[in-house]
């Protein structure tokens, strides 16, 4: 589904990603872990099409298309979803309005009719119930005055409505208490599907207690320095990033 080859990216003259390789197939869940400043969030944003970065080298293929050529909205319509670490607020634009506009944009791109208002409301209500969200959220401005946990749940709500092929969750666990984390994880697990892939970008292992990844990658200083199964995450939790970074450096030294 997603093939990243030797991706090198710089911003303001500084190289941030230094040759990332990653293949994600349908049905898989990948976790990308790494210390702060390792480039994990940058990778997530580049995949979604954030401006301000320069692709120096490499390619990204998504469902047979050259992802890097597409506008952010075209990527979204192709089925790529980014759950933001810091979702912005948009005062005055109601949550439900954004949801509907987004869903209709997606449907239009696939040659479908606009969603029926009643069906849409029923769908949203059901998903919200699952995420234990109050319906009043729908009529508030997008993320306006939401708490950290509410914003994250709101991201998962959007994801469950838009049903992407590839969901990238950027530090979705940050700022969540344990109850909120469980709810968010349940929401994510409910979206597990043989046709869908997910990339969890996270600093800590704790999200992975609730969502078991098939693969874990460690990103450090712009490169994936180790890949493994979910036990790698557990080892990281115990030992910290230090040992693996040291190990890779000494290997590089060899």
């Amino acid at each position: 589904m997603l093939t990243i080859k030797n991706l090198c990216v710089q911003a303001e003259g500084k190289l941030i990603l230094k040759g990332v390789n990653l293949t994600v197939n349908a049905g898989e869940i990948h976790a990308i872990m790494g210390p702060n400043g390792s480039g994990k969030s940058t990778l997530a944003h580049i995949l979604a099409g954030r401006e301000g970065f320069e692709i120096v080298e490499g390619s990204v293929e998504f469902l047979g298309q050259n992802l890097l050529e597409l506008t952010p909205e075209a990527r979204a319509r192709a089925g790529l979803f980014l759950a933001f670490q810091y979702p912005v607020s948009i005062p005055g634009v109601s949550n439900i309005y954004l949801l509907k506009a987004a869903l209709n944009a997606l449907r239009q791109a696939h040659g479908l009719k606009e969603v029926d208002a009643m069906d849409f409301l029923a769908l949203v209500r059901e998903k919200m119930k699952f995420l234990k969200m109050d319906e009043a959220f729908l009529y508030r401005g997008v993320n306006e005055g939401f708490s950290g946990g509410e914003k994250k749940r709101n991201e998962i709500l959007q994801m469950s409505i838009l049903e992407p092929c590839l969901a990238i969750l950027d530090e979705t666990d940050s700022g969540l208490d344990i109850d909120a984390l469980k709810i968010v994880a349940e929401g994510v697990n409910a979206l597990k599907d043989p046709k869908r892939a997910m990339i969890l970008v996270t600093h800590y292992q704790r999200l992975l207690d609730y969502i078991t990844p098939d693969y874990v990658h460690v990103l450090s200083q712009g490169k994936i320095i180790r890949s493994g199964d979910h036990t790698l995450a557990l080892a990281l939790e115990k030992e910290g990033y230090g040992w693996i970074e040291n190990a890779s450096q000494s290997m590089a030294g060899d």
């Binding site: 401006e51 979204a76 912005v88 005055g92 634009v93 506009a101």
Partner: protein, 483 residues
């Protein structure tokens, strides 16, 4: 890099065309350009006015000649030659039309093209319309139905003929002919406009609406609207405006007077979409308007809502004099300036009575090379015990060539006054645009969505049909803003 991209997206969006720019080929009765006593006498004679009207006009003209055109720091325009304007232009009728069937079909088509049907059976929403074409009213709908309730809704000229006592009593009682340069000019030369009288205790059952259209070349439009809500009456009035695209600037200097007696309510909504000029700032309407209401009786209320997207230059401050005790004044405004448009708008709330309240919500949007200024005055006089005001004025800037200014004057002379003014300035952030794009929404729609969200507090004050039109208009006016 990011900014450049968004700016160019904004540009595309801002560069759509003015869709009401067509003109109507219709024979007009137009006075030659120029202004003097004789012209004023001619206007008055053409309208077959009683002597008191002529005398009033002449007094206004004499006063106007003593005045100098005002100079405003934030509004710039070339000198206006008042002798190069024709002060009267009317579609030529063989005889005054007695019903819609007699109105020139070309005229009806003009209004249809603008999305306004003057045929009553085609109007679903229950809006009575007075259509003003250049200087004169061409048709008023639902007159009979309203007359049964004692409501007078007609053109100003007709009111002068049919209800001279009301006109005489109230004309100039809120905006005197000495008020300011443009109000004096209007008083001298105004040719038509709308007149509304709602009798005691009557709630007007439908929205009343006037649609203003400037068509002829080198004419000014000087209409005058007078609305009187008698004790306990209420009315909602809508005003819409468009003009063809022409290279020269045209002057629109209107006066609106509202009088609310005890317990009366007047809601006055405007969607102003005069031709704004082209992308280089050529042409467009100079919209210099005096609008003022007085809450004369206790517990009366006047509410202004305006969506200003058109005109090359807008200069207007719909105001309320809160004379009676417990009266309420409101001002809700969205003003958008794109390309080289300039808007200097705001309100004055003059608190005279006890426990008077006013609310001011102003949303200014500046794009392209647009200049947008809020200028407001909240004045609490010594006798106005318990006066309250809340003002919020926010500016949204799109692009780095535009400007937004805020000049709020507050004058408080009563110790029980509570006045609050808040203002913010923001722009559409890259983060907001990217967020929407990531959800599959293209940048144009995202900007439009965010701008409409920004204006929400004002749009919700508009009657439903107008709110929809206003949202569309905002979209159109901002087109080319993204790119």
């Amino acid at each position: 890099m990011t900014t450049a991209n968004n700016t160019s997206q904004l540009d595309q969006w801002l560069n759509r065309d003015y869709e009401h720019g067509f003109s109507t080929a219709i024979e007009s009765d137009t006075l030659p350009c120029g202004l003097n006593d004789a012209v004023i006498r001619q206007i008055s004679a053409k309208k077959n006015e009683p002597d008191f009207m002529l005398q009033w006009r002449l007094k206004a003209f004499a006063h106007w000649q003593t005045l100098k055109e005002p100079q405003w720091a934030t509004v710039r325009h070339p000198v206006i030659d008042y002798q190069a304007i024709s002060y009267y232009s009317a579609p030529k009728f063989k005889e005054a039309p007695k019903s819609l069937d007699e109105v020139d079909p070309e005229l009806l088509r003009t209004y249809e093209k603008l999305g306004i049907s003057l045929k009553e059976q085609e109007i679903l929403s229950g809006v009575a319309v007075d259509a003003v074409f250049d200087s004169v009213s061409v048709a008023t709908t639902f007159k009979d139905k309203l007359a049964k309730l004692g409501i007078v809704f007609c053109s100003f000229s007709e009111a002068v003929q049919e209800h001279p006592d009301l006109v005489r009593q109230y004309l100039g009682s809120v905006v005197s002919y000495k008020d300011n340069f443009f109000a004096s000019l209007n008083s001298a030369v105004f040719t038509d406009g709308s007149f509304v009288y709602i009798p005691k205790g009557v709630r007007c059952p439908m929205e009343l609406s006037t649609y203003f259209r400037i068509n002829a070349v080198a004419t000014g439009q000087f209409e005058r609207t007078l609305i009187i809500a008698d004790e306990g009456a209420s009315v909602s009035y809508l005003e819409g405006c468009t003009a063809p695209m022409r290279d020269e600037n045209q002057l629109h200097a209107a006066v609106v007077e509202l009088v609310a007696l005890q317990d009366a309510k007047i809601k006055y909504s405007t969607v102003q979409n005069w031709y704004p000029g082209d992308k280089e700032g050529r042409g467009g309407i100079y919209n210099f308007v005096t609008k003022r209401g007085v809450c004369r009786g206790a517990r009366s209320k006047i509410s202004w809502t305006q969506v200003e997207t058109g005109s090359a230059i807008t200069w207007k401050y719909p105001s309320v004099i809160l004379q009676g005790d417990d009266t309420v004044g409101e001002f809700y405004s969205v003003a958008l300036t794109n390309h080289y448009q300039q808007a200097d708008t705001g309100t004055k709330m003059i608190h005279l009575g006890k426990n008077t309240k006013s609310t001011v919500i102003s949303k200014g949007i500046a794009a392209g090379h647009g200049h947008n200024a809020y200028r407001g005055l909240i004045k609490v006089m010594p006798r106005a015990e318990g006066a309250r005001n809340y003002t919020q004025c926010d500016s949204l800037l799109l692009g780095d060539q535009c400007a937004a200014h805020t000049f709020p004057y507050i004058e408080a002379r009563n110790a029980s006054a509570q006045i609050e003014h808040e203002a913010t300035t923001s722009r559409i952030s890259d983060d907001q645009l990217f967020y929407c794009q990531q959800r599959g929404i293209n940048p144009e729609d995202a900007v439009s969505m965010i701008v409409n969200g920004f204006c929400k507090a004002v749009f919700k004050e508009l009657p439903m049909e107008f709110a929809v039109e206003a949202q569309k208009l905002l979209g159109v006016s901002l087109e080319g803003c993204v790119g």
